[in-house]
């Protein structure tokens, strides 16, 4: 069986913008989050988010363009933080792998991506000028002007624009996919890269995801669903998965990209191996578009399939990085799914935590940054904590890592869960590298 390993990680997130920094923040239990600074949210019901501090999207996209002569990008960087975050994390990951010459290489690029939504600038450029006083839209007037509109909306909406820029910047030739399975997108993208390498289609691939919905219409879409925390006065403690008083998730933004390689190829080039990826499972709830299955049926199926794919018994798992969003429904149904899977086999569930308590919910990028957290746990030997728990919700009957800092532990196998709107689920299993 072909073995697949992780040899590099790039992270641009709310708690850190480097891989070492991310590991350190995870170990120290340091949370991101604060008042929204990317726009004036003062009149919004939710005015907090976990933003990436100091991120310059123009510099990130400019770096990709600098690496490839003639490469063009028609998005306005400030309008497309998502793509810029993905490109930055991928280049950070590639650079850290000490592979300066990707040119001519068949390098897979598989990224999960999220809703581009509509930005304020796009509404002002593409909608407002053709609205009358009653809010009626003059479609004919819009049509006559469409060809000359300056907005970069069409380019920003392309789901695989980041893939194009990354491949071009690295001089690589694919294969490449983008995955749009909502909050499970980047976990599924990592899974796809894993399958591609295991089946021999490629030797190495960059895999992960990116997202940023911290803009007015992006945040509104979640507010209208009632999904966001409104703890505006205490943003650092707003993300509290498994806590009895959780009231929704803290919207985050960011990107994480892992370099996956066929193990012997990684060893042959002397790469430092951070962890092994051994299992991938997906499922669909087939229940409702608005809520997970009440018994966590789909979540359990994804975990079971990942275990089967890895050839593991449930008892082998030492740690689960839960999807753990901090919404009332998610955490209880996910707990139910975990408890039923393990206790149904006469086993106590492994230690569970949600690193969203620190990073917030990165939506399409969540699976990738949480895969990175699992790699850190295996590599560094600690359980990432679930911070901000004042009173564990009795409906969450799993052993939660209630701590303010990482807990030293011998972690051999770690599972990462990602569950998306629409009932799309993914579980990944990572193993400590033991040669």
């Amino acid at each position: 069986m072909t073995r697949v390993v992780v040899t590099s990680v790039g992270v641009i997130g709310p708690t850190a913008t480097t891989w070492p920094g991310f590991v350190e923040a995870l170990r120290e239990g340091r949370a991101g989050g604060g008042p929204v600074t990317l726009f004036d949210a003062s009149a919004f019901p939710t005015r907090i988010a976990a933003e990436v501090q100091g991120f310059d999207p123009a510099a990130a996209l400019g770096e990709a363009l600098r690496r490839c002569e003639g490469l063009a990008c028609d998005v306005a960087p400030e309008e497309d933080r998502k793509t810029a975050l993905g490109v930055a994390a991928a280049l950070q990951c590639a650079d850290a792998a000490a592979e300066s010459a990707w040119g001519g290489r068949r390098l897979g690029v598989h990224l999960g991506t999220g809703l581009s939504s509509v930005t304020q600038a796009e509404v002002e450029a593409e909608l407002a000028p053709w609205l009358d006083g009653e809010g009626r839209f003059d479609a004919a007037g819009y049509g006559a002007a469409a060809a000359g509109l300056a907005s970069s909306a069409p380019w920003r909406h392309l789901t695989d624009e980041a893939n194009r820029l990354i491949l071009a910047a690295l001089g690589a030739s694919g294969p490449t996919t983008s995955n749009f399975s909502a909050c499970a997108a980047s976990a599924q993208a990592i899974g796809r890269a894993f399958l591609d390498i295991r089946s021999g289609r490629v030797v190495r691939a960059l895999a992960g995801g990116m997202d940023s919905m911290v803009h007015p219409f992006g945040m509104i879409s979640f507010m209208r669903l009632g999904a966001l925390s409104t703890r505006n006065e205490a943003p650092l403690g707003a993300s509290r998965p498994f806590d009895r008083a959780r009231d929704g998730f803290l919207l985050g933004e960011g990107a994480a990209v892992l370099l996956l390689e066929e193990a012997t190829a990684a060893a042959a080039r002397g790469a430092e191996i951070l962890a092994e990826i051994v299992g991938f499972g997906t499922s669909i709830d087939a229940h409702l578009i608005t809520a997970p299955h009440p018994e966590g049926r789909g979540a359990r199926l994804a975990m079971e399939r990942a275990l089967r794919d890895a050839g593991l018994e449930a008892g082998a798992i030492d740690y689960i990085n839960a999807h753990g969003t901090g919404t009332p429904l998610n955490d209880s149904t996910e707990s139910l799914a975990i408890a039923s899977l393990w206790r149904g086999r006469g086993l106590e569930p492994p230690q569970v935590s949600s690193t969203k308590s620190m990073t917030g919910h990165l939506i399409a990028a969540a699976g990738a940054i949480e895969a990175a957290a699992c790699v850190a746990a295996l590599r560094e030997g600690f359980l990432p904590p679930s911070i901000h728990i004042e009173a564990l919700d009795p409906a969450c009957e799993v052993p939660v890592v209630e701590a303010t800092r990482g807990v030293p532990a011998d972690v051999r196998y770690a599972m990462s869960n990602s569950f998306g709107f629409g009932g799309q689920n993914a579980s990944l299993i990572f193993k400590r590298w033991e040669g």
């Binding site: 009149a43 609205l131 509109l149 909406h157 030739s173 294969p175 796809r192 629409g422 009932g423």
Partner: protein, 390 residues
């Protein structure tokens, strides 16, 4: 494909050519019609026509008809195409528990398009928040405009909701992924599903794509990305799904099959400038796909140029060159029947070609191609066409 043989046991297709494979195959000539659904009169004349599905009715496949309010056109097209495919595979999706095997084991892989819905849906909110200078007043948006945005709007515009609606209505709980590289998503989704069947992760999978982007934002986007234009492609919509099965599984239940999935090839040559059709890339993918077929065996390569006259000429030259080196084969360009259908591009043309073979009894292998403006190309090889029974 390594592992078990994977065959197509059901074909569902909906396009401007018709609803269902037989209707599609019977449609001799398909022409674009005046765009319906919004006032397109301000757009250039060539953007006022499209290959639209004239009467889209997903209701027969829906468990709860009130869900129609939260289904994008992508989702409706997907549900019809998926339902047709399942019926064609000898199953009745309208019967609860229709699957004669565990629904938990039926996978669903889908190519999804760009975000459905258009910007005009935000009209009431924008009108409430628009200041005298035409800019959006965020204080007004946050306090008044917000309530004018439908609560479930995000769940309508998430592309993967098309997959969710299919899974809910057809009760599919197997493995599932929503792939979205614009242009190759459909073929890539079928290939991912086939791999899952071949590896033994499931015996049955439903796989395909749908795209219904002929709305105001979609027309504007295609125009500005250079997909459509004077002398360019015409926008289209539609959906195509295959039921894939392990051959042994299909034959054990007495189900005829239409073709075997023999091979998938995907290359990327990222374009420095978006929207430049790369005939060389498409040709190289076709060449790699054809390498898996017996030399000289009859084959038709179904192009990816989506009816764009300029692209079609480049593509034909590249493919004829490849086929000449191989020693024979035909080029088919069916984009003039379906237009540019985003995520369903390529797959829709391949389904169109398979439907015609089914009607005519044609048995040559088919190589379906797809191309994305971001510089990716995929090919899917169907061989043993028509050998699996009636």
């Amino acid at each position: 494909m390594d592992g078990r043989e994977v065959v197509i046991t059901g074909l569902g297709v909906i396009s401007a050519a018709g609803v269902g494979w037989a209707e599609v195959a019977a449609a001799q000539a398909v022409a674009p019609r005046a765009v319906e659904g919004f006032d397109a009169s301000g757009f250039p004349a060539w953007a006022q026509v499209a290959y639209q599905v004239p009467s889209l009715r997903p209701q027969p496949y829906m468990k709860r008809r009130k869900d129609l309010k939260v289904m994008s056109r992508d989702a409706q097209l997907a549900l019809v195409a998926a339902g047709l495919a399942v019926e064609d595979a000898g199953l009745d999706p309208r019967e609860p528990g229709a699957w004669p095997f565990a629904a938990e084991d039926v996978a669903l892989y889908m190519g999804v398009g760009l975000e459905p819905g258009d910007v005009t849906e935000l009209g009431p909110a924008a009108a409430a928040a628009r200041g005298a200078d035409g800019r959006i007043d965020l204080e007004a948006l946050g306090s008044v405009g917000i309530d004018r945005i439908p609560p479930l709007s995000a769940l309508v515009t998430l592309p993967n909701m098309a997959l969710a609606h299919v899974s809910i209505n057809l009760e599919l709980m197997g493995r599932g992924e929503a792939l979205s590289p614009w242009g190759t998503a459909g073929l890539d989704a079928v290939a991912a599903a086939a791999e899952s069947v071949a590896r033994g992760q499931c015996d049955v999978a439903l796989a395909g794509a749908a795209d219904g982007d002929v709305d105001l934002s979609g027309v504007s986007r295609a125009l500005r990305l250079g997909i459509t234009g004077e002398g360019g492609a015409v926008l289209g919509e539609g959906g195509a799904f295959f039921v894939l099965e392990a051959r042994q599984h299909a034959e054990a239940r007495g189900q005829r099959w239409l073709a075997r999935l023999a091979r998938h090839v995907a290359h990327a040559a990222p374009t420095r400038q978006l929207g430049v059709f790369d005939a060389g890339l498409v040709g190289s993918v076709a060449e790699a796909a054809l390498a898996g077929l017996a030399p000289g065996s009859p084959v038709a390569v179904v192009g990816a140029s989506s009816g764009h006259p300029g692209w079609a000429a480049q593509e034909r030259a590249a493919l004829e060159d490849v086929l000449e080196r191989r020693g024979g084969g035909a080029v088919e360009q069916r984009g003039g029947r379906v237009g540019w259908a985003g995520a369903a591009s390529g797959l829709l043309e391949l389904a169109d070609a398979l439907a015609s073979r089914r009607a005519s009894g044609g048995r040559e292998s088919l190589v379906g191609l797809a191309w994305a403006p971001t510089g990716q190309a995929s090919a899917l090889v169907l061989d043993r066409v028509g050998e699996g029974g009636r």
